[in-house]
């Protein structure tokens, strides 16, 4: 089992779209039992997968004493793909983690699900706090989507500095998202701080994934955006294989 975190300190970078896309590809193309665990109170993953919102707001309860993640896990309409949906109770998650004291609560809970899933994809909230501390401990690989902008460069440096504070942290794969080759600033980013990063092109197909509430590969797998996403996830899987996390 491997835990892959999709993380960014910036919002609006396509994080949830990527998390849903990767989880769907693992489940559908890779035929692996996969869980997408939505830690962002906005609940975007459930929305994109067309999962009805939870009737009761109790997602934060998973992290309390006697929390049982299996009770909140729901199947999706896609084979092999389940979701642990978010709700507004996760606004209290930083406080909850601070109260617990241990940095490994999320890692421990993910470990409980080892026999149920081969991939757990964490859709993380865009913040650097107790939640990101837990994510760093739990993740085997962290993917950082960043659009080509000066603020993204700054965000990347912030994450890099944060990681350096940790004695041990997972491998980080930065990805240039929303890339538009017609824009000079984007091209410059690709030639400078983002040189060598995998690229996901800006595309109306990615926007349509939210409109249709379905992963892009289900309706436009031929598109360059879907191909770009496929290459990113293939790279993540290569890394996991090398780490002996199959």
């Amino acid at each position: 089992m491997a835990v892959v975190a999709i993380y960014s300190v910036k919002g609006g970078v396509g994080k949830t779209t990527l998390a849903v896309d990767f989880a769907w590809r693992c489940a559908s193309f890779g035929m692996m039992p996969t869980l997408i665990w939505d830690l962002d109170p906005q609940g975007g993953s459930g929305f994109l997968l067309d999962v009805p919102p939870p009737r009761r707001t109790r997602a934060v309860g998973v992290f309390q004493r006697e929390g049982r993640p299996r009770e909140l896990i729901q199947p999706t309409k896609y084979a092999n793909l389940s979701i642990l949906p978010a709700d507004e109770s996760l606004r209290d998650l930083p406080v909850q983690f601070a109260r617990i004291g241990s940095r490994r609560k999320l890692a421990t809970l993910a470990g409980f699900l080892r026999n149920d899933f081969r991939r757990i994809v964490l859709d993380c909230p865009p913040m650097m706090n107790e939640v990101s501390e837990q994510v760093i401990e739990a993740a085997d690989v962290m993917l950082l989507p960043l659009p080509p902008s000066p603020l993204s460069r700054r965000a990347f440096e912030q994450v890099r500095d944060e990681m350096a504070r940790h004695r041990r942290h997972p491998p980080i794969l930065p990805v240039l998202s929303m890339y538009d080759a017609r824009r000079r600033l984007h091209r410059e980013a690709r030639e400078t701080f983002a040189a060598g990063w995998p690229v996901i092109p800006a595309s109306s197909w990615v926007e349509q994934a939210a409109q249709r509430r379905a992963p892009i590969a289900t309706f436009a797998n031929w598109s360059e955006a879907s191909r770009g996403l496929g290459r990113v996830w293939s790279a993540v899987e290569m890394k996991l294989y090398e780490l002996d996390l199959r």
Binding site: C26, R231, M238
Partner: protein, 117 residues
């Protein structure tokens, strides 16, 4: 292309590899997945139930294999015999037990999809 007409079994049965050259993660993945697809395709033809649980990788797997070999020639500067030996080594590792082979398949299927084939 020469490799297109070369039977997979012949490539897989090539001599044991010499000292392995340094390959990138992507190149190692191409080698491993080429070998995995060849093995699983053989087992699918033989009607092995565990292999049939995966999508048919006969045609697409063969095309992946051909493209991967061509790419390795171009990018790693390896000759046909050297590549065949490397694939044979991968195939031996994967075929050692079915669990190893089938656990390699999911990531290879993602690589196959990413290849656009």
């Amino acid at each position: 292309m020469i490799l297109r007409s070369a039977p997979l079994a012949a490539l897989l049965a090539a001599a044991a590899p010499a000292a392995a050259p340094a390959l990138t993660l992507e190149q190692r993945t191409m080698l491993r997945c080429s070998a995995a697809f060849a093995l699983v395709a053989n087992r699918q033809r033989a009607g092995e139930p565990d292999a049939l649980a995966f999508p048919d990788v006969g045609e697409r797997g063969r095309e992946y294999f051909v493209r991967a070999m061509a790419s390795l020639m171009d990018t790693a500067g390896l000759g046909r015999e050297a590549i065949a030996a490397l694939v044979a080594g991968e195939a031996q590792d994967l075929a050692a037990d079915s669990r190893t082979l089938y656990r390699a398949m999911p990531s290879c299927l993602l690589s196959l999809e990413a290849s656009g084939l």
